[in-house]
């Protein structure tokens, strides 16, 4: 690929180059312009005149030094494998490619774009958007083989930008709508994040279209963007591999990533359960789902909730029971955005299994809670101890009430149903307690433990330890 006919250099080295206010010739888009956009549109082969570049409105050479202009960039592409789903990815490449041009700065995306051209590049002869069009067409065609035909339109005429702006906004909205509905089955790559492995060494955050990162900050789209820019960084691609069970969210690729990244500590995960092989919990999950064995349901509490929850324990104590990258059935760190996912804890019954959650969170995710169970979930205003919770659930006929009957019939499963509301906690499976920490120490494993104690005190007894 040659850029010999372009008056300035083109290349990766110019990415991240910033054109400062006093060095710029003109600004296109940006905070001073109300309307600006960039848009990629998938077209049919017959609708595109290949490599056509059109400039509607004044070109760079017609602009006054130090002036500001609206801008619209439309990239129309066609090819037998091109579909509307790819528009977002194609459009995002504009950011990179424009930045490859020496003396051109491009920031943001969609209706927020902000471009500057430096005086220096203009003086070198980069005086027409035609040059930018040529660069874009060459880069797109060489880097994205699926593009067979492409045409580029630059709009700087304020009237035309205005006219086409609403259509662009509509297209972004439609795309976001599609993105929200994107299913795990429609992609072949998930993303992993090891940003908090420093304090949760066996934690592997798995981010799928339907499951946000535990911290609530990283979507599948964020993962995709980060892994592309910095594939060796803390956000990395996890090839999905074979689907073991889509409903439970079990994939060979995810399990393999767990084995590798947790150094064999965690080898198998069902993404959509809090009970069976749950996803590990880091240290900064936004909320925690915790089992309330007395009602066989899950409570949820978020980090900002002050004081005790319905079972008498505050967020911090509940979080301690699973934080640090552990896989503890019944104690499950999660994000609030995940509560908006259709797959939210679906193995365990989803919202039908949630019995208690703080009012503010309930309000925040209300429209994602199925209507028939909305009023049946208790908040801190309805109950603040397990006895009251039980009464509340029974009164409202919460779906978990049906499970109680089943439980009472099954003798061998003895869940704690102490009416006095004790601190009895049944821990199915394996409970591991680490003692010692740095440089060895002990690991105590309880299998299928049921523990009742008034008080457990574990103390470190060093020589010459001061009495407390």
């Amino acid at each position: 690929m040659s850029f010999e006919d372009i008056p300035v250099d083109v290349g990766v080295v110019y990415e991240g180059e910033r054109v400062r206010g006093k060095d710029m010739l003109v600004e296109l888009g940006g905070p001073k312009m109300e309307k600006k956009f960039e848009l990629a549109i998938a077209r049919d082969m017959g609708d595109i005149e290949d490599e056509k570049i059109e400039i509607i409105g004044p070109d760079l050479k017609d602009m006054e030094e130090g002036s500001f202009h609206p801008i619209g960039i439309v990239i129309e592409v066609a090819g037998k494998d091109i579909e509307p789903d790819l528009e977002g990815v194609i459009e995002r490449r504009l950011h990179e490619y424009v930045n490859f041009v020496e003396g051109l700065m491009h920031l943001n995306q969609r209706y927020d774009i902000w471009m500057r051209l430096s005086k220096k590049s203009f003086e070198k002869g980069f005086n027409s958007l035609e040059f930018l069009g040529k660069v874009l067409i060459r880069l797109y065609k060489s880097e994205m083989n699926i593009i067979e035909k492409i045409q580029v339109t630059f709009i700087t005429d304020p009237k035309i930008v205005d006219e086409r702006y609403d259509d662009a906004i509509n297209r972004y909205n439609q795309r976001d709508e599609r993105a929200r509905g994107l299913g795990d089955g429609e992609v072949d790559t998930f993303y992993g994040c090891s940003l908090c492995q420093s304090f949760a060494p066996t934690h592997v955050c798995t981010i799928t279209p339907q499951r946000y990162a535990n911290c609530g900050a990283i979507s599948w789209f964020d993962g995709r963007a980060a892994a592309r820019v910095d594939p060796k960084g803390p956000l990395y691609a996890i090839p999905k591999g074979d689907t073991i069970d889509e409903f439970r969210g079990e994939y060979t690729g995810v399990n393999q990533a767990y084995t590798e990244k947790s150094l064999g500590k965690v080898n198998s995960v069902a993404l959509y359960s809090a009970f069976e092989k749950p996803h590990t919990s880091c240290g900064c999950f936004e909320a925690i789902a915790f089992v309330i064995p007395e009602v066989d349901g899950l409570g949820i509490v978020h980090r900002d909730f002050k004081g005790e929850t319905v079972n008498g324990l505050p967020f911090s104590s509940l979080a301690d029971s699973t934080a640090g990258g552990r896989q503890v059935p019944g104690f499950h760190g999660l994000s609030i955005e995940y509560m908006r996912s259709p797959k939210f804890l679906q193995v365990d019954g989803g919202w039908d299994r949630i019995v208690w959650l703080p009012q503010v969170i309930k309000e925040r995710v209300l429209e994602f809670i199925p209507e028939d169970v909305r009023d049946k979930i208790s908040t801190e205003n309805d109950s603040m101890n397990v006895g009251d919770l039980k009464t509340f659930l029974k009164e409202k006929n919460h779906p978990v009430v049906e499970r109680w009957v089943e439980l009472e019939e099954e003798d061998e499963v003895s869940m704690a149903t102490d009416a006095s509301g004790s601190d009895y906690v049944a821990v199915p499976g394996e409970l591991t307690a680490m003692v010692g920490g740095v440089g060895g120490g002990l690991e105590i494993i309880f299998k299928n433990a049921k523990i009742y104690a008034e008080k457990v005190i574990i103390r470190r007894m060093d020589k010459g330890d001061k009495k407390k």
Binding site: R20, D176, A217, C284, I336
Partner: protein, 269 residues
């Protein structure tokens, strides 16, 4: 290609970090035409006033806003946050005739900032590559330091006032600096408000700790007055003793000429 110089100013609270940073900035813009980015990384944000500039918003405000829209689920589905944040940081940048300025501020709320902070670090590292010089006014804790690109030359300036606490903090900062994965090419000390007769003793003490004393900022009535009134230090007379002392320090740090920087690094042979 030219090496970029990143100078970080640290020290216990109240020792004169902001005064030092402001006067170093002044020296650079008066004596050179080098491109300069000044970052106020101290959440207290005193530097804008000392430099006489208005800041529209801080990076912390932007990050808090992003965190809030994450919580509310109000972000567009398909757009990646790293892309949103970059543009917003650039909007927070104050572009001056002589230097650009960015205020870090602080973040609010209890949500997890691991990811947001990582994005910020990347964006600001990228931004600083565009300048020959970057000057960071740090908080005492060095939280904002991060592993930077190897093309940066990092120099850490620790400011001291005549107090035992400041001296001990300086040693702690030096130790901490080794832990944050930045390869500081040089760690130096600047003394502020010491009596002239204390200099020799201080120099000897610092030598034992392998810390070179790079200069002393004397007591300066005009400076005290300006600080008290909240006037920009860029308006001080150029014959003020503090201004002159910091100019000398700036030269030694390599802020005023490439040759001095190479000398600082021992590459002038």
């Amino acid at each position: 290609m030219r090496e970029r110089l990143v100078v970080s100013v640290a020290g216990k609270g109240g020792v004169g970090k902001t005064t030092t940073s402001a006067l170093l900035t002044r020296a650079v813009i008066e004596k050179t035409k080098r491109s300069l980015l000044v970052v106020d990384a101290d959440p207290v944000m005193n530097l804008p006033r000392a430099l006489g500039i208005e800041i529209p918003t801080s990076v912390g405000d932007i990050a808090s806003r992003l965190r809030k829209s994450i919580d509310e689920g109000s972000l567009g589905g398909e757009v990646a946050k790293q892309d949103i944040l970059e543009g917003e940081i650039y909007e927070a940048l104050v572009e001056g005739e002589q230097f650009d300025f960015l205020a870090m501020g602080r973040t609010e709320g209890e949500g997890c900032y691991c990811y947001v902070n990582r994005l910020l670090t990347q964006i600001i590292d990228n931004l600083s590559k565009n300048y020959e010089l970057t000057l960071l006014d740090m908080s005492a804790g060095l939280e904002h330091l991060s592993r930077r690109t190897n093309r940066n030359v990092d120099v850490l300036v620790i400011v001291l006032d005549p107090s035992r606490a400041a001296y001990e903090a300086a040693l702690r900062i030096r130790d901490l600096a080794k832990e944050v994965h930045i390869d500081f090419k040089k760690i130096v000390v600047v003394g502020n408000r010491f009596l002239p007769e204390m200099e020799d003793d201080l120099q000897k003490k610092l030598e034992e700790e392998n810390l070179p004393l790079f200069g002393m900022i004397p007591n300066d009535d005009e400076l005290s007055k300006a600080n008290y009134l909240g006037q920009p230090l860029t308006e001080l007379n150029s014959d003020s003793p503090a201004v002159q002392a910091v100019e000398k320090i700036a030269e030694k740090l390599g802020l005023l000429s490439e040759a001095a920087m190479l000398k600082l690094l021992g590459k002038d042979t």
